[in-house]
């Protein structure tokens, strides 16, 4: 049920973001979701893409340090309280969220939330038990 995310180390330097996105463009990669975490001297760009193998290869060939990370994609109704209903379930079971980011799917009915947990498998189980829709990777890559 995992979704694979590709994380890229970026120095905080002018032109770095342009370069990384150019590499992805040239490799024909479509970005499904993204999140950029930054500090004063570096950033971590996290992406869900349509073809992670091609993306990884292209990035490595261009000298980027990358890492594949298992994340969990959850579908929630796009209305007030949607996000909370999920976090509340996790909180009850003491599951820690390392970070999260969201996007709205094209139909506009549902929001998709990406979670990074330290205990991924356990988190998936808890979410499913509570009747929350956990999306398989293939679905997310094809969105």
């Amino acid at each position: 049920m995992n979704v694979e995310q590709i994380s890229i180390f970026l120095e905080n330097k002018p032109g770095k973001l342009e370069f990384v996105t150019r590499v992805l463009k040239d490799a024909g990669i479509n970005i499904r979701a993204l999140c950029l975490a930054d500090t004063t001297d570096f950033g971590i760009l996290r992406l869900i893409v349509n073809d992670i193998d091609t993306a990884e290869k292209a990035l490595q060939e261009n000298g980027f340090t990358v890492r594949r990370t298992p994340v969990v994609a959850v579908e929630v109704p796009d209305r007030p309280g949607g996000f909370h209903s999920i976090v509340a379930v996790l909180q009850k079971k003491n599951i820690t969220v390392e970070y999260t980011y969201a996007f709205v799917d094209r139909s506009g009915e549902n929001a998709l939330i990406i979670f990074r947990f330290d205990r991924t498998e356990e988190a998936i189980e808890v979410l499913k038990e509570s009747g929350i829709t956990v999306l398989p990777g293939e679905r997310v890559y094809r969105l």
């Binding site: 994380s7 180390f9 120095e11 975490a37 500090t39 001297d41 570096f42 890492r67």
Partner: protein, 433 residues
Amino acid sequence: MIFNEEFETLPREALEALQLKRLQQVTERVYHTVGFYRKAFDKAGIKPDDIRRLEDLRKLPFTEKQDLRDNYPFGLFAAPMTSIVRLHASSGTTGKATVVGYTKRDIETWAELMARSFVAAGLTKNDMIHNAYGYGLFTGGLGAHYGAERLGASVIPISGGNTRRQIMILQDFGPTAICCTPSYALYLAEQGEEMGVDMRSLKLRVGVLGAEPWTERMREEIEDKLNIMALDIYGLSEVIGPGVSIECTEGRQGLHVFEDHFIVEVINPVTGETVPNGEPGELVFTTLTKEAFPLIRYRTRDLSRLMREPCRCGRTHVRMDRVTGRSDDMLIIRGVNVFPSQIEAILLRIEGLEPHYEMIVDREGSLDTLEIRVEVGEELFSDEVRKMQEIERRISKDIKEYLGVTAAVRLVQAKGLTRFEGKAQRVIDRRKI
């Protein structure tokens, strides 16, 4: 003024006779008490009895920093621990530090040399000395402290750091002299100005500054900003600590080496040959009176030259020019001695860290800065900011704890640093001093 008129103005002939007698005693003693020296002398085919004239010193083998490390911690001590009353050490990773010991008499000698230094700098027992050298394993703080007490001056053991409080004490207590590194003196001046304090109207009149190289231009700036007379003091923990040599207020050209306690030579750092009088080279010291940690022909790696012309202050002791640089890769960062190899050792202990890094030393305003750039390879990289920042923090913390210097750590992209064929240039020193 001269603290010890008799010894500091001894006629050269008498001084050299005293040096020879003491040199004979110290070589005799180290030969019989320190295995390292016995081996080294035997290897060089020289016996203590062969020292008949001062020039015979040149037959003795050099002692290197590496010899001190190899004999860590107490292997070069010439006195049993029962008679050692103090230990100091240079910064260093475990096993790499150099440790020095002092007997009660060594502490007294050192206090006298620092008292002599203060008097050469124009201080008396009526002065109040703000001692901003670090107290602890570093020899600066306690060395200056004991000298100030020996002189009978009032000493403020403020140590390093906490600049705002230092400025408050400079205003409220009204010390007349300050001991610190030249760059810290400048930093104090700048911070004081920023706080709206008129740093020129403090009671300070003398600065006894050392532990790092500085220039005439920096001296002018310090003297102008603090309205003091700034004097250069030199020393290193291996030889005794601060108080090996000092400028006098009369000459202010070169630092008098206390030759009744040390013999100074200048050698060509490549050939090891003694250079002609007055030529630049590397300073080499032999201690004449130290009991716990005598040193024979210790190569300091500090570059200078000797001035044998008499000084108008009346001291007969030879002067050394201000140290202009090093013959090795040692960096002096805010008065702390740092070898790039020590930083490398700390970095390589961090799992997953690749041996690609750069050290950038710069000076912001008057303070040295150290930035360490470390490449992030696949093994070190995490998608979590927290884990990446932990790596930065850990490197900073280890460097602070082991070496005593503050470093800003910056993670850079893999292969982001220049690659070298052959010897890597990992240190970029941008300071213009």
